[in-house]
Amino acid sequence: MSSPHIPADLLDKVTDHLHNTEDALRDCCLVSKSWIPRTRKHLFAEVRFMTGADLESWKEIFPDPSASPGHYAKSLVVRCLRAVAAADAEAGGWIRGFSRVERFKLGCYDGLRLRIPLTPFHGLSPVVKSLHVEFVALPSLQVFDLILSLPHLENLTVINSFDVPTDDDDDGDGGLPPITQHNNPTKFTGSLDLLMMDGMGPIARRLLPVPGGMHFRALTVMWVHEEDISLTRALVERCSHTLESLDITCDPNGTFI
């Protein structure tokens, strides 16, 4: 008996309908090879590397980065920076396998000064629209270079417990060191959230003069220093033609006002 033919658009409807039922999608993978790409689109829509063990499992199951389902991922979460950076160096651009990521979440909670370069993540995917960066100790210059390497970035969230300047954060005379220039200015058309326990200066001061300007529609900030007030004023003015919503929290222990 010949195998029945199911039209492609009907197959798409079936897998789309099952998009949030992982077990059913896994079963679909076993039906036929032709079903695999359709189910992988949903199964790997979000990929999380929370620990080095997560990464090791991935590499074991998908030893060939070019054939991995990383390119199905629309959302990527990386918490084990050191392991991912090592994997990228080892495989010569392993992270590039995640070429269609639109939402990128990067975090490090070890509280130590970060010695891992963020350059492997530069230009991670040409379609990254949202970047969420969360650090205990923020390597602000590295983060800022990462931000500018994503030309289609619309939404930016930076959260940190305290700022730890990297060695090259200060050029010695109180000014900011030069940033890496990219050909296409970043868009910045969505939301900007700066919830930084040691003040938003390290990111906001660098954002204000970016070429191409900022066009954020929503701004969420936390005030912990007097400087945060003037930076908020400057951000509001810089985005005055697009800004629709301003959300402010003030440090409850703040005595600066």
Partner: protein, 113 residues
């Protein structure tokens, strides 16, 4: 000037910073349609005597006057809302009556969105 909504989240009774936030936004952004105050729910549990004896009480009275003035100055007054996310409705109502008396009396403030 497109700014339509300002959200302020007091996490302590001291709110001098809110006046500063309004100084940044209100004069230049006449199109503001909504001002939302989200208070930490624990603050709504503080008793009246403690509140009125605190240094911050005067700051709340200033805020009350400022919001009334802004509301009255506008041909289309903004919606002013006050919430205590996760808090009790009765506590919230009592807190607002005590801390923003003129706004409450003149029914210029909505307690829940």
């Amino acid at each position: 000037m497109k700014l339509q909504e300002v959200v302020l989240r007091p996490a302590s009774l001291s709110i001098k910073w809110i006046t500063t936030a309004f100084q940044i936004t209100l004069p230049k952004h006449q199109g503001i349609q909504k001002i939302s105050l989200h208070l930490h729910p624990q603050l709504s549990l503080i008793d009246d005597d403690t509140i009125k004896e605190s240094e911050s009480y005067g700051e709340w009275m200033d805020l009350d006057r400022l919001l009334v003035q802004f509301w009255e100055s506008r041909s289309t007054p903004p919606k002013v809302t006050f919430t205590t996310p996760g808090g009790e409705e009765q506590d919230t109502r009592h807190f607002v009556e005590c801390m923003l008396p003129e706004l409450t009396r003149r029914e210029m403030i909505d307690l829940f969105e």
